[in-house]
Amino acid sequence: MNIFSGHISDIQVNESLSLVSIKINEQAILQVIVVETPQTAPYLIKKNPIQVLFKETEVIITKEDIPDISIENKIKGTVNTIEKGILLSTLSMDSEIGTIVAILSTEALQKLNLEKGSVVIAMIKINEIMLAE
């Protein structure tokens, strides 16, 4: 599980859904969609400290930024370690928000020709991130 701490910087509410922006640090804001509103979840207050959680398997790795893509959260970093398995591999990268771990197919890892020091971008969809107090 990737876990980062931040503060809520913005909340857009529509019926029972909220699109929450979490400022991790000066460089990075993550967006998250939740089936909660400030009425149902008292922690949804601007400036409130909050944790964001996402599975390693939900992280998409690309070497180049793709501007026209429907993924809201993009974080730049460099590959630190790679653990190669038969079908799946684990990659950890140093990024502007800290270490992000991704699990991807070994095939994709080879196709992208990734190694320690490669510059990559991690992408996570808004519906793959959970919030925790």
Partner: protein
Amino acid sequence: MITVDIYKVLQAANGNIMLNIQLDIAKGQLVTLYGPSGSGKTSTLRMLAGLMPVDKGHISVQNQRWLCTKENINRSPQQRSIGYVFQEYALFPNMTVRGNLEFALEKRQNTDIIDELIAIVELEELQHRKPNTLSGGQQQRVALARALVRKPKILLLDEPLSALDIKMRSKLQDYIIKVHRQYELTTILVSHDIGEIMKMSDKIYCLEDGKIVKQGNPIDIFTNTRVSGKFQFTGEVIAIKKEDIVYVITVLMDQNIVKVIAQESEIIGLVIGDKVVVASKAFNPMLLKVEV
């Protein structure tokens, strides 16, 4: 609404404990009393039922006073409209299933309730059998039905399922939920089984040394981190297996087995038998209509 505020000095193995319990239970709720042995759970049920004297306090149920030590009001157990189910079935061995239920009828009470209850807990085939020819789960169903013959307002369940195996327990839980809803009961359960509490209760009271130390909804009480995931269930870890670079964790939830892929960092300290919350976002699960 049930309002309880009772004091009682209880003699325990290592000295006296001062029991002081306050409960506010809305009509129709199913709440659980949870805590170590000797924390006062069974005593609380017994005082509610009028089976154990209270030193000081009051109990009122839907604006009727059942107990008020100040004004010397103390209804007898028979006047309290309570159904009580214990871990032991306590059935009359010389009577049939039906006989056990009929014995609980009040004078001049309409006997239709017997057939209704037999149908609800599915005892039709067994109604003419004696208790000693039934399995533990079947006997407990009889005890549950018998507790409801007089149409009580409150159902008290003192670890009713702890002697049963997991499959039978799950079935009995479903019967309890069914009668709880159908008869609009207010139910107080004593249980140690976290999965059972999560499945059944609206609210949990944690007792220690005769006091309520925590109360709230079960997910908040049993999990350290509250996550926003709308898809949350508790279960028990039954297998942890490393495959390739990930771990496959097998979790038993109620009667279903699920598998979760985890990273090494997620399973630190996790061992077989641990209770876990399996959480996902409401966006991930797919719904497939079951054709019947």
